[in-house]
Amino acid sequence: MQPFIAFESAVVPIPRNNIDTDQIIPARFLKTTSKDGLADNLFCEWRQDPEFILNTPRGKGKQILLAGDNFGCGSSREHAPWALTQFGFRAVISTSFADIFKENSLKNSLIPIVVSPEVHAKLFTLPEDAVIKVDLATQSITLPDGESVEFPVPAFSKSCLLEGVDELGWILNKESAIAAFEATHPAAINTLA
């Protein structure tokens, strides 16, 4: 993972609530055994419509997706943030995110930015070329009029993202704690038996 640095981009608005993972990347594309090659199938069905925003100039080369409430509901497929990041997105702004999608995004340098309904509504009214700044270090987005809006990020995830490290290395360093726990927590099952 690369360390996450602040960036600026115009937003790609998709004003729909409850955008589910089957829309983000349909299940038939999950038969792959790699993480790659998912960008072409991001929002695959909606992209059949030539007027869908990702097919228009406004949808090209942008790094921020602006979506309705409860983005990423449905399945646990990490293919959803993989497809979004491979397409070029580095942040999604909504009023809320589904739990598993949020966790998956934070592990893939895709920042789920939760804003209030008021800020959310204001973002949808911005002109097409309006640029938003996303700064993870200060946990804030800056709007074109200078308004700065803070957003929550779990402290641990934030430091992983800023340093560009994943969780696994950190957990592996806690091996002695895991072994100590196992010594007092006998296994209830043995799948090898």
Binding site: D22, T32, D69, S76, S96, L168, A187, A188
Partner: protein, 468 residues
């Protein structure tokens, strides 16, 4: 956490490996279920870092999503699916993980086989790279879906970094009327709180209606917790739980059984424990439920009507209902009863267990399905298939004109060729009605096995109570 605790808090507390201010908790995982779709990249990650699977003895794999439900003696025709299924076996062989592959007598949908093998037990933490892992919460386990990065973390360390969820009590009291089942309870909850209503929470299902359910019914309810936004849903273990588990392959035996039961009896929520949220559903007045829209929260009583977007004030919500009706080809304000369907699907990790098959067979026995409807019945596992054969159920389904198939996820997720054609309607006992979920352009009405069977006979969406 001290003082009176909820079931989920007790299980959480029993699995804390490490807790430190400013860090998520490091939580130990007792059972890790693995399938072909969300694991290949995790095994690749282990390989790249030179890591082993820490506890293969707490891990089990099976293939369910990508495999055909047709004759298993034939090769898998889809080369991409065949490669994925083969990769699971290769990965499991290399890392020493037990795998119930295509030809195993224990193969089945991951959330069906865990419980039936006795692997899922009260008080455990259970994870799987699959959002319907909540199913295992029916046993009083804290069970939730994880992404592939977390699959890798659990394979390597048997732990996960997690933040505790809020607690959400779902109280269901009363006696369900004939024709009303566990599926209707959970569809009613989804309709009541909406698809995001339980986000950040663990549901605990309680009350006399839940107590009266068998384990299969409790699994149906817990299974769809995620469809109301909750990553996990739990039911306190009781005698029904213990009777189901007793004698199963991996359940404790002899003196260890008594010790385990004594421990499990400590798990139910303490008197006076405070939940962050509570909701109640009246089991006495519950009707069979069906979804009309494109997420599981868009549901009504079967005798109800499709909503009218003009009556919705919020613009995005109004737009969502309008788009859903457009996709579903439904008219605002009209009843759902009587809508012709092309396919009836009985199966999935929600409703493919023996009691589901029995319920459908009891309605179909001695009758013929409507000739305009393709009716697929897909048992959840090889074990369910064997039980069904012992009870003569395949003959009942075939005599009625159903297509009785091999175990797998099948048309719930439509990865294996079992799918709707564009524009087709199904009544499905599965868990998701998202656009395209059962095949590109397919339109799904979610309902119980009883409603599905009644619809199969009539060829149109039907109220099971009319033929009881």
């Amino acid at each position: 956490m001290s003082g009176p605790l909820t079931l989920s808090q007790k299980v959480w507390n029993n699995h804390i490996v490490r807790e430190h201010a400013g860090e998520p908790s490091l939580i130990y995982i007792d059972l890790h279920l693995v399938h072909e779709v969300t694991s290949p990249q995790a095994f690749s990650g282990l390989r790249e870092r030179g890591l082993k699977v820490r506890r293969p003895d707490l891990t089990v794999a099976t293939t369910d999503h990508s495999i055909p439900t047709s004759d298993r003696s034939l090769p898998i025709l889809d080369p991409i699916a065949a490669k994925q299924v083969a990769q699971l076996q290769t990965n499991c062989d290399e890392f020493g993980v037990p795998c119930f592959g295509v030809h195993s007598q224990d193969q089945g949908i991951v959330h069906v086989i865990g419980p039936e093998l006795g692997l899922t037990q009260p008080g455990m933490t259970v994870v799987c790279g699959d959002s319907h892992t909540a199913t295992h919460g029916a046993f009083g386990a804290l069970a939730f879906g994880i992404g592939t990065s977390e699959v890798q973390n659990v394979l390597a360390t048997q732990t996960l970094l997690q933040r505790p969820s809020r607690t959400y009590k779902v109280q269901v009291d009363g006696v369900l009327k004939p024709g009303v089942s566990a599926k209707d309870i959970i569809l009613a909850l989804c309709a009541k709180v909406g698809i995001g209503g339980g986000t950040g929470c663990v549901f605990e299902y309680t009350g006399s209606s839940i107590r009266a359910l068998d384990m299969e019914g409790r699994m149906t309810v817990s299974n769809m917790s995620i469809e109301a936004g909750a990553r996990a849903g739990m039911v306190a273990p009781d005698d029904t739980t213990f009777q189901y588990l007793h004698g199963r392959r991996h359940a404790p035996k002899g003196a260890a059984w008594d010790v385990a039961v004594a421990r499990w009896k400590q798990l139910p929520t303490d008197d006076g424990a405070i939940f962050d949220h509570e909701i109640s559903i009246d089991g006495n007045t519950l009707e069979p439920m069906i979804t009309w829209g494109t997420n599981p929260g868009m549901g009504v009583s079967i005798s109800g009507a499709v909503p009218d977007p003009r009556s919705i004030a919020d613009a995005l919500e109004r737009d969502a209902v309008t788009k859903a009706l457009e996709y579903m080809g439904l008219e605002a304000g009209k009843p759902i009863l009587g809508k012709p369907v092309n396919v009836v699907f009985i199966g999935s990790c929600t409703n493919s267990r023996i009691t589901d098959l029995r319920a459908a067979a009891a309605i179909l026995k001695g009758r013929k399905v409507n000739p305009n409807v393709r009716v697929m019945v897909v048992p959840g596992s090889q074990d369910v298939k064997r039980q069904a054969i012992a009870e003569g159920l395949p003959e009942v389904f075939r005599a009625a004109g159903c297509d009785y198939r091999e175990p797998g996820c099948s048309m719930c997720i439509a990865m294996n060729g079992d799918q709707l054609q564009p524009g087709e309607y199904s009544v499905s006992t599965s868990n998701r009605n998202f656009e395209g979920r059962q095949g590109k352009g397919g339109r799904t009405f979610l309902a119980s096995p009883q409603t599905a069977a009644a619809t199969a006979l009539a060829g149109v969406v039907s109220d099971i109570r009319s033929i009881l």
